[in-house]
């Protein structure tokens, strides 16, 4: 392991996040076991007060987690000079088998803790805290994810071996190579484009429907289309979107767009995608809670607002990814 400032920062950071989530989960277990909203006992009162602690613990953990996703990618990018064969973050992440799983775990942690905060927000709107059981079960579910994330990250940093030549984006996302990256890179462009834009349209139509009247089945459809759109978007970034940014018909790397050479365009691109998708998916996720009468009004309003966020996110993402195709002279036709 290198004593690299970024690695130290990430290790400390993930230790802190783990500590926060663990203590939140321990409190959560106590609350789950003893919770009785009807009781006036002092114990119940102290549990109620602990719910505040749990929610700030998770909120802080999430904000650290967001910082850590970016820091992780950036660190991977920075240490590529230490590794033979690495030319960008892809190469560093490829340095051992823990790199990419760590990144995925970070993204999952981000989504799960964000949805916890969303549910917590709703729960705090109703006088009898109707979602408390679901909420704390979910919280306990977060623990293994965060644990896995920290373990993977630690393993990743411990096992980086500069002597092992890693393959970088050039090979990993090459059209000739083997593996997922390569098979994504070699997808035919036109059908992918068509899928991408038709899913975008479905998502937007559903989003508009929900923002008008947040009812079934549109809410569920919005969730499903958001999820599908997320998957297709990531595939599309590798297959064709990134090519337009690089102006190269063979460069498929999803990380290079985060670099200075491409004016950091990757950051707004990924941020709009992630936030848009998150809100879109949450709309359907909270649909079942409408059964709770105290929450019905709040949920209707929330769904209306979140569907707007989903639309905004998706539109910004689509605009950024479409812009170079329209504005720059480079074309993929003929490749």
């Amino acid at each position: 392991m290198f004593l690299h400032p970024g690695i130290i920062a990430l290790t400390i950071g993930s230790g802190i996040v783990l500590l926060l989530i663990l203590s939140a989960a321990l409190l959560g277990i106590r609350i789950l076991r003893r919770w009785d909203i009807k009781s006036s006992s002092e114990e119940q009162l102290s549990l109620e007060r602990k719910t505040y602690l749990v929610s700030i613990l998770v909120q802080y953990a999430l904000s650290f987690e967001i910082l850590s996703v970016f820091l992780f990618i950036y660190t991977a990018d920075d240490i590529h000079t230490l590794l033979v064969g690495a030319m960008c973050a892809t190469g560093s992440l490829n340095a051992n088998s823990y790199g990419f799983p760590t990144l995925y775990a970070k993204i999952v942690t981000f989504f799960v803790s964000a949805s916890w905060i969303a549910i917590n927000y709703l729960d705090n709107k109703a006088e009898d805290y109707p979602l408390i059981t679901i909420k704390y079960k979910l919280l306990i579910g977060i623990v293994p994810i965060v644990l896995a994330e920290s373990a993977l990250q630690l393993q990743y940093f411990l096992n980086i071996n500069p002597n092992v030549i890693t393959s970088c984006c050039g090979t990993m996302f090459s059209e000739e190579g083997k593996g997922i990256g390569s098979s994504l890179a070699s997808l035919p462009i036109l059908p992918t484009k068509i899928t991408f834009y038709s899913l975008l349209t479905i998502l937007l139509v559903n989003g508009i429907a929900v923002s008008r009247t947040p009812i079934k089945p549109f809410t569920y459809l919005l969730s499903i289309s958001s999820l599908l759109f997320f998957i297709v978007s990531i595939i599309s970034i590798i297959t064709f979107i990134s090519l337009y940014f690089y102006q190269l018909p063979t460069h498929h790397c999803p990380f290079d767009i985060l670099q200075k050479e491409y004016y950091y365009v990757g950051y707004p691109l990924y941020i709009s995608l992630f936030s848009g998708i998150f809100f879109g998916m949450m709309v359907g996720f909270i649909e079942p809670f409408k059964k709770i009468s105290l929450l019905r009004e709040t949920i209707l309003q929330t769904q209306h607002r979140w569907s707007l966020y989903a639309i905004i996110g998706a539109v910004i993402f689509a605009l950024i990814s479409t812009a170079p195709m329209v504005l720059l002279p480079f074309t993929l036709e003929g490749y």
Binding site: F2, L82, V84, P162, N163
Partner: protein
């Protein structure tokens, strides 16, 4: 004026200073481009491999050329090179050296 506005203003001011420093750094760096080119020229003519930052010990003066086997070359018992020794360890060859395998 509200206290929060004053706080925001002060924070914005500090961020502006940081941005100014950032601009300063970019200007300075672009001014240095020719210097680096010239230095690179000197390095390639004289075939240098190291910086003249630490001249008190052999491994500190030429960390990249230090040999692999004398593990204790001036280290770790070499108190005479103490300050540099804490800053420049003998290179960690297991993390920087490329393994060259002979078939």
């Amino acid at each position: 004026m509200r206290r929060s506005s004053i706080f925001f203003l002060l924070t914005a001011l500090k961020i502006l200073i940081i941005i100014a420093l950032f601009v300063h750094s970019r200007i300075e760096l672009s001014n240095r481009m020719t210097l680096w080119k010239d230095l690179e020229g000197i390095v390639s003519t004289l075939k240098l491999t190291d910086m003249a930052l630490f001249t008190d010990a052999r491994y500190a003066r030429h960390p990249t050329q230090a040999d692999l086997f004398s593990a204790f070359q001036d280290y770790p018992g070499s108190i005479e090179h103490f300050p540099t020794g804490t800053i420049v360890p003998p290179p960690e060859f297991d993390s920087v050296e490329t393994v060259i395998k002979i078939k």
